[in-house]
Symmetry: D3
Subunit: 290 residues, 6 copies
Amino acid sequence: MTQASRTSLDLDHVRTVVRAALDEDGAFRDVTTDALVPPDQRGRGIFIAKADGVIAGLPVAEAAFVCIDPEVEFAASIDDGAWVENGRIFAEVNGSLASILSAERVALNFLQRLSGVATSTRALTDAVAGKGVRVIDTRKTTPGLRALERYAVRLGGGGNHRFNLSDGILIKDNHIAAGRARGLSIADVVRAARDGSPHTLRIEIEVETYDEAVEALEGGADVILLDNMTPDEMARVVRLTKGRALTEASGGVTIDNIRAIADAGVDLISSGSITHSAKALDISLEIENL
Amino acid sequence: MTQASRTSLDLDHVRTVVRAALDEDGAFRDVTTDALVPPDQRGRGIFIAKADGVIAGLPVAEAAFVCIDPEVEFAASIDDGAWVENGRIFAEVNGSLASILSAERVALNFLQRLSGVATSTRALTDAVAGKGVRVIDTRKTTPGLRALERYAVRLGGGGNHRFNLSDGILIKDNHIAAGRARGLSIADVVRAARDGSPHTLRIEIEVETYDEAVEALEGGADVILLDNMTPDEMARVVRLTKGRALTEASGGVTIDNIRAIADAGVDLISSGSITHSAKALDISLEIENL
Amino acid sequence: MTQASRTSLDLDHVRTVVRAALDEDGAFRDVTTDALVPPDQRGRGIFIAKADGVIAGLPVAEAAFVCIDPEVEFAASIDDGAWVENGRIFAEVNGSLASILSAERVALNFLQRLSGVATSTRALTDAVAGKGVRVIDTRKTTPGLRALERYAVRLGGGGNHRFNLSDGILIKDNHIAAGRARGLSIADVVRAARDGSPHTLRIEIEVETYDEAVEALEGGADVILLDNMTPDEMARVVRLTKGRALTEASGGVTIDNIRAIADAGVDLISSGSITHSAKALDISLEIENL
Amino acid sequence: MTQASRTSLDLDHVRTVVRAALDEDGAFRDVTTDALVPPDQRGRGIFIAKADGVIAGLPVAEAAFVCIDPEVEFAASIDDGAWVENGRIFAEVNGSLASILSAERVALNFLQRLSGVATSTRALTDAVAGKGVRVIDTRKTTPGLRALERYAVRLGGGGNHRFNLSDGILIKDNHIAAGRARGLSIADVVRAARDGSPHTLRIEIEVETYDEAVEALEGGADVILLDNMTPDEMARVVRLTKGRALTEASGGVTIDNIRAIADAGVDLISSGSITHSAKALDISLEIENL
Amino acid sequence: MTQASRTSLDLDHVRTVVRAALDEDGAFRDVTTDALVPPDQRGRGIFIAKADGVIAGLPVAEAAFVCIDPEVEFAASIDDGAWVENGRIFAEVNGSLASILSAERVALNFLQRLSGVATSTRALTDAVAGKGVRVIDTRKTTPGLRALERYAVRLGGGGNHRFNLSDGILIKDNHIAAGRARGLSIADVVRAARDGSPHTLRIEIEVETYDEAVEALEGGADVILLDNMTPDEMARVVRLTKGRALTEASGGVTIDNIRAIADAGVDLISSGSITHSAKALDISLEIENL
Amino acid sequence: MTQASRTSLDLDHVRTVVRAALDEDGAFRDVTTDALVPPDQRGRGIFIAKADGVIAGLPVAEAAFVCIDPEVEFAASIDDGAWVENGRIFAEVNGSLASILSAERVALNFLQRLSGVATSTRALTDAVAGKGVRVIDTRKTTPGLRALERYAVRLGGGGNHRFNLSDGILIKDNHIAAGRARGLSIADVVRAARDGSPHTLRIEIEVETYDEAVEALEGGADVILLDNMTPDEMARVVRLTKGRALTEASGGVTIDNIRAIADAGVDLISSGSITHSAKALDISLEIENL
């Protein structure tokens, strides 16, 4: 199962998010730069990777400079999503030095964070290369930045889980408990979800044991999420479901255990840490006066 | 130098940020919960700390539930900013179970992140307790969440640096270089900043050597930021400036070296890591049907 | 297959849409009413059905009055979604007469339109009662009013198709043609959709012939939309797919032919006309001075 | 009385409405197209009229494509407002096939609806051609689309009534009743409206009988709306008012009775049905891969 | 001709304008007050008129305090629009002292400006009391504050001209010149305006000479604006038009010449100075700690 | 102390404010111009100063025309901030006559107001030329227009005080009183402000007597605002503070007394009247048809 290259970004959304970040940072009234750098002094900035990783977010960084000053020019020598090595110069920005300085941090904040997400995703996808499993994200993203972080996951070779509560069914333990309080079995709950939702959505359900997986399958679940199971338990469920439902491993996935999880035969491995715990990629912007 | 308790939050701002996060998460059209949980089934959720730390963001979590459903009731047994130990139940939420489930993740996302920021701040402030130094934040905050993260820093016992580019002067290396390109010395640049900015702002300047600090003082700088200096170098600058300018240490501050930095006698220690690298505090919401 | 009662409305969304409609209608500066009706003159308005049908949109109508004047009181004697007969008084509004007059048309516009959608849906669902088929809507809704119109469809006993392009896969003729231009068969296209989309979504594909349905099934389609087929052709596809994929009939569905379509054994029947061509339900608001 | 060609559209408003419709339709995250159509595959779409009628809304359709992708090119071979016959190709769109597919329905939704309004207006204006009467719209427009629908009415040869409650006086039965409750005659109410409103507005009043028209004239009404009168009654009022006030016929206007109404000599005929009940004009977009 | 008491304010609009002003003033992050005044210290503020005049804007002032802190209580001892004498205490505010201090200036800014507009209007309306002329405003209002300033004009006893370019016809010299360039006489222009605009609007035209007024009347103008004429010239036009059109005097109206203008017999006198040059009414807010 | 040329404007902000003003004025639905001026009739407008003064706001005026119609061309023959004499033609606008007429008043309203602010500022700065004092503005600006009015002050040769409550400390009499109620001396209050605020802000405090100034200095105030003191009293405080704190004169500053105040030796003189009482500069726009 491979992931098609769906890397398109809604650029209007990018501009809106970037404009809000620049407003938050007071970048349109940068009192230091206003006092010290005449608008017609020109400068150039060089983006340099200070570590190996995947660069993600070039259009976002560009938007930060252009939003401050449409005459600033941003040019990258790589595609967004490319792997770079420490020391590689991968983009530059030219124009009014004052404009470059006022937008610098917002541009870097986005670029470092998104490159970090892409890089941490790449680490996991590389670890299971050739295994036929898809590494996917979760809803544990930064408030306000979900679309951008999912884009970074795709650049890192991962896939996306449902975007949010509106476009996917995932029956979690509390939903099961809510049903149980009303006398419903797990299979009943799966059937209720089927009957009460658009037919375009698959029914995914989270289970913690083999027996729950059996019940879920009986109810007709399309996808079974195996929560915090051992690889052996997972393999047992995979044998049960193969051809009847997809299986997704979730909980405590790390670079160390992901191969073992993949070997259990699951179709999908979801990881919250690729978004909520990604280490920012170290990138510097060196500026020269012209 | 102590930090007054300025912990007030702009609740309109909180509601706006929370509403946007709920919209992003599709929480107003939660297809799973809509299909499985009748609106009149009631539930209770119990917030439990799964680690020791500072709880921060109770009004934000409350806003998430109330925004989904004004009849949900949220009650905390501690003040925002209180220290809790692993296992402590510190808040509960009561109302429509469907509403609680739809808002759960957004509430937890904010609460865990802000509590993480407050806890990491507390670690640094505790490490220098009694030293008379103030630990402060930087502009390295999450886009869109700066006001909330600074609030968390205050709850952790820290202080705030300038909010953004509009409300504080900080002359950085690139500003100095821009001046140098126009024939200005460091002292000239400090004077230009003084002349070109509102008189209500102090002039802070980043220096990398003792000699630059001398020049900055000569120009009349009010605050000198010591970038990546050793404690010994810092101490030398502190002896120079004492009584004539404040000193701020910045760059590579960790729990391991912060006491040594404080011992150098600086007035302020700023840390980007308390916001950009704070580990989320582990908090769970256990839900029961009523 | 029955539709669970997911009739909850996002009331914040309702208020936003209603406020925009009142602004568009200049209702906050109603020059006629301002000139003629003193703010303290009180009135009562009685809502009367002028035809048989399903009443839908009571909370929307209420929002119109309350948005103009929070002290206006709106009370309904029926539940939203109830069937009423011609002449039935089903709600009343009390308060400042000027406020009632300024909000009147916007309230009625929404109520009549949504009741019309619910009523036209009910006509179709009644026609196939007991057949085990679900009548669903399409994306042919009024720009800006999709969430409200889908709510009305649910009140009329119907179900909802995907909300929009983001939360459901529907491969249409142009997507198939785009694939063919790149050398892909229908089965290839289905597989590409599977690989390139979140695993939480089913793959639905539109076909026009039995042979295309065979290809779609071979590719692993979850749902097959039968576009403008005769009931006999549909029945043939249903026999093919039963148990392997859902079938959805679409195109030219009317009150006259829907039973024949249902008899063909399809799982779903989608109708654009229940939203884009619903006749407004005639409702009057009779106002008395108090 | 002829209608000057005031067909200008506020293009910023168009872009705002179109953007909202695209957002509502999830067009910036079209999961099907993202999975199946590479961004660089090019396509062309041909707009074909499937019925005779007035085409209205070409700039709105163009905005939908350009909002998704500024590089899509839209070109029409007719002016907005032109009459076309069934089968006529009147516009085409070229560019990224994926962009064309994602914007297609929103573009068609607007174009079909607005062309329907223009066509239904044209039917009425043609029916009374040469009679010296102006056919005008009402406030019974789709919430959110009033400016666009009024534009379509103008393209169909009609005129516009007041835009909303803020820019025209229309004393309706409930306003008269409100006055009566305070002891005011119809003539008193007309005078009160005159005294209580900007002098730039005419005073229009709705009457149901000849005697009410007499009273309204006595009060100095500028325009008398004849609500649901027979042509003979209208003619009697027209003889009374000619030269002293304009007359507007309203209520139950159809293509069958509009000539008789015009023959009664009224100056204006208003019709809610040209907006609230206009049948969408059938238009198809045929797409080819390039 | 008297002005009915249309003093209602759109309170949602008030809250929006006030919130924007508080945001602009940084009132939700008042660093001085945050540092010095604990949230639970209570205070009371007393509003005192420091000059004779009309108080206007009490709900606006109240909104400023309540927007900062819903628990602040504002109480006025007079109605909005009342005349007060120097030294009169007319309102008070109670609650958190910090909240009162943060909202103080925005509240005063609005109150002083609007009271100034009402007072300057009252001066003119008093000067022509009993003359049967209506004093009205113009479009020369402060950007963003038109609705509030027109409200203040009404409280001062004045009337309102058209709200804006959309809700009234006023043919000015440049419109006449534009017509002349296309071969149209003044009477032609008036007729073109009549034909090209909604029938609910009167046609007003600005003239500079008696002869132009003759032409305007011939074209059927409803209102004739006499631009910068002497009272004698005005009186001559008034004799011409009486009973056939209204007359409005405009240009250079002052407290010294307004009686002479009124004596010329015009129906309306418009003044830009009551909004664009109104002197702020001196009002102080004296604050006590509780 | 001279003011660097920080005249940059946030053009996105300008466009937002101008668009809102045009909306408020109904300029996108100008019924008079729509009826009388065909879109293709061309015109030229010439801006002429009708008094001596500083022209300020050329980019704002341009934005008004371009917002209505991107094809209108605006060209100025002077720089923004230039001094012009009565009769000077300083800019022109070319394009669709209808567009020019619809945007005219909004453009003039901003240009006259901002030029008035710049001119009144220039009067004060000229009066103290060579004295080494900086004339600055206050927070007494028009709600919604603060950024623009501060820009005009800079063009008039003045400087800016803090932008708002968030970016500067100014301890006023009520803050002192609030402290006194809690047992704090003036010096205590200054120290509390220091401890409770970001270190990047100076501490400014308002005093009314020499003795209060002594206390403020003792607490470590950076700036002392002398409220309504006589020049002699000011001079006495200046002698006290020289070298230890800046002094700012405030209250009742006029063109007549400003030299005497400057002679007292203060560093800054703030004036509310340059913004809240600036007389609009008389500017006319003469329009010709082409």
